[in-house]
Amino acid sequence: MENSDILILDGAMGTMLQAAGLKTEELPETWNITHPERVAEIHRRYLEAGSRVLYTNTFGANRRKAAGCGYTPAELIRGAVRCAREAAGTQSVKIALDIGPIGQLLEPLGDLGFEEAYDIFREMVTAGEEAGADLVVFETMSDLYEVKAAVLAAKENTKLPVWTTMTFEANGRSFLGVTVPAMALTLTGLGVDALGFNCSLGPKELLPMAEELREWTDLPLILKPNAGLPDPATGEYRITPAEFAAELRKALPLGVFALGGCCGTTPDFIRTLCETLECAEPAAQKAVRRHGVCCAVGTAEMSGVRVVGERINPTGKKRFQQALRERDFHYIVRQGIEQQDAGAEILDVNVGLPGVDEVVLMRETVKALQAAVDLPLQIDSSDPAAIEVGLRVYNGKAIVNSVNGRQEVLEAVLPLCKKYGAAVVGLCMDENGIPRTAAGRVEIAERILRAAESYGIPQQDVYIDCLTLTVSAQQEQAMETLKAVQMVKETLGLHTTLGVSNISFGLPAREIISASFLSQALYAGLDIPIINPNQSTMMDAVAAFRALSGQDGDCEDYIRRFSRAKTPGQSLSKTDRRLSIQEAILRGLGRETALLTEEALREMDELAVIERLLIPALDEVGDRYERQELFLPQLIKAANAACVGFELIKKRIACRGGQTLSRGKILLATVQGDIHDIGKNIVKVVLENYGYTVLDLGRDVPPKRIVETAVRENVHLVGLSALMTTTVPSMAETIAQLRQSGHSCKIMVGGAVLTPEYADEIGADFYAKDAKQSADIAKQVLG
């Protein structure tokens, strides 16, 4: 039953195994060993129906799901490939090693590390290749990060072609919120051989998503939908084989590569599908129209202006440098959130500073940012090792900032961009410096483009930075830069980027020059301005340009931006003036607290403001909370308001290059096995607002890491949280290991299931019933 060039896949395995007697609580993959003849029989029936690719019965044959089943993943996989080979006999069919989700969620939501996921997939794909599979297919995936670990594992450890299909919901997103463009951009970048959808929905519901996918990728498309939507009452699929085939046929104009079925489909569905497609001609593939960069849940399409926020960068920022040295990722993430709120669409991430481990900082910063911000990242470093680690742990398609015309830089960085599918910024400079003429810069831009293409990086992923020079120092260069932008755009057809702020260095009223230069650069063809989005004049210029250029249809965004109510000015009104810092904090008024703190700093030094105003205010808040006059959200609001005051003081001290003001270091962690961490996070906020430095190790933290950190950072107060009866032993173990280490420290514990007696029994020094009490304990231990 050979038909057109469309490859026919098989149908459901699970449905067929259950019909053959598999119990729902049995691991289906064990049948590869216990009932190989029945598994082979299912393959045979699909072959007879017309399948030309057999998916092995290995969907859940991973080390985690197979734990306790009596077989290793490799044994299950060997058995599965044997079943498929036996069924195939001498026929020319491909055997696809089928791999589904691990069944445990990856960080940041889940407790599975990226590298651990990679290792689980590595074990499976190497076993599959050894067993003789022809290709590997990752399917039913809903987490883009998990797919990335899987694809890297396959490409780095085997020579097998890699197919990837993900599962989407009716709202056009996966369970984890992944969008179709994000999937297309990321997987195309990672170099999979074919991609598409499986499971999810029926063929009818899948079609619009397949159309969207086609707009973003030129890779071969796979569709393997369910037999319609399940009946909500019975869970059964009700579409007929003929309806299924007729609906799938409608996808042919998209130029599909392979079709098959998922849940609820049987050999009958595949047979009917083959018959329906017999005389169908596959359509020619359309050219990809859309491109850009993305995170898992959002895309910055490269059409029109896309603002890159420049604030995550230590250059010239003492407070940021301090945060990097102290690994205060909370501070860094807040810079990201602030820029997102101000309208940034991509965030530049630069964490290079003399004396810090940039590789480690880049990894942790990227992880922290992508857990909190929905924007694509631009990895900004001159160290290829930092670039690689950033790209590896990034969930999406990133931009690398940057390469330049120097051969050794191109050779070190471009292969990384290709491997991880990143776009790249090329600076118009080389070993001879920055050419003084626009033509000289365009020449370097072209050289960078050719080099990128030689590594297989497509033209639309090369962004050229014509370089902004300071107008107060090299006045004639401003116009030369604009000319270069225009030429790169016109002659090379590339997107352009510029770090705009540099133009005004050394001049008064910097924002005026910067915004004016920005407007002119945008007109010259600048697509990707790197600016400080927190400066409203800069974002105003972008908004105006979008309206003038037609990108902002009917000037809607412009009107919305400027018809918003004016924000109150930065001075206190008459009524506010009567407010004391204490009242402002009690009422949780952050802005007022900041202004009053500033006022107080005119008369007192920083330490006095903290000790005489901020801390007593917090103590009063705490007392009222104890007396139940305040309620938890009010306590936290007050603490946040105080924090604004503390932050102001920190910044002043950092700017002076002075010592950090801290009342002492405290380590906090939710113990291993526990993921309920909101309680720990509340304690953290309160302790920080009382002026302590908190090292937050997060949740599900192994005892060893807690001990190591306590010793390395010389921490003398450790706070442990556990919310489950089942994780209290893990807390006891952590305490035991801390004591064994000989490191002298006090330990406080808290969490819903703990009692003072229990805390005593497991060897803790203190029991903290709430966040307020943890601050009291900190005061007692650290002063």
């Binding site: 599975l112 599962t167 919120g177 869970g235 949780g588 909101i678 906020v685």
Partner: protein, 223 residues
């Protein structure tokens, strides 16, 4: 029956916030309104369920599954059938609550409480509809792994029986906790006579891990 979530009862949100009954300020009322609205807007409630007949030896029909521990047996005594339910608010609400912990912890606390109230509301609505559907037969309360001596490790089997991860996108951690956290798995007994057994105390409450009353050694008085 689909998952439904039309509103979040204010009393439930306050309950999870361990409100002591002090008068709410106007500002706090606004925060509560705003956070509940955010949960309602963001949540993608989903559920999956299956009805089993209880075999004489305690097995769920068509499977070899017998719930662990002795408490489930007592809870289901007198029931001929049992409904296995898994429900979630989805990963979107989870992200909303997690991210609020970076942006604004005061909001995060209210969102967390409103999220707990919301998933319980989804389950309550489901149970009400199920009761109508199965009338004149009676339903028991909900009983979840972790209640009494019903082991958390049974989550793995429940997840397989309902195909939970694939159907509604909930996953288990290494220690058998659910992510998104605003998710519930539960047994609901079905019998011809009103059930006598009623779990009492905090062990049968899904708020038991985060309940502030409990931390203070008190109870909310509901059970």
């Amino acid at each position: 029956m689909d998952a439904k979530l039309d509103n979040i009862p204010r009393a439930e949100t306050l309950h999870y916030l361990a409100w002591h009954g002090t008068p709410l300020t106007e500002e706090l009322e606004k925060d509560l309104d705003r956070c509940e609205a955010m949960i309602l807007e963001t949540a993608q409630p989903r559920l999956v369920w299956r009805l089993f007949t209880l075999e004489a030896d305690g097995r769920f029909s068509g499977t070899d599954y017998v719930p662990g521990g002795t408490d489930v047996g007592i809870f289901l005594s007198g029931c001929e059938q049992v409904v296995l339910l898994a429900a979630t608010l989805g990963v979107e609400a989870e992200n909303l609550i997690r991210r609020a912990q970076v942006r604004n912890m005061a909001d995060a606390i209210i969102l967390d409480a409103a999220g707990s109230a919301a998933i319980e509301t989804v389950c309550d609505t489901f149970c009400r509809e199920l009761a109508e559907k199965l009338a004149p037969r009676y339903l028991t309360e909900r009983f979840s792994p972790g209640y009494g001596d019903y082991p958390l490790t049974d989550q793995r089997v429940i997840f397989r029986l309902l195909d939970v991860s694939r159907r509604i996108g909930v996953n288990l951690t290494e220690s058998d906790l659910m992510i998104p956290q605003k998710s519930v798995t539960a047994l609901i007994g079905v019998s011809d006579t009103p059930h006598k057994y009623r779990q009492s105390g905090c062990e049968s409450c899904s708020g038991r891990f985060t309940c502030a009353y409990r931390k203070e050694g008190k109870t909310c008085g509901k059970l």
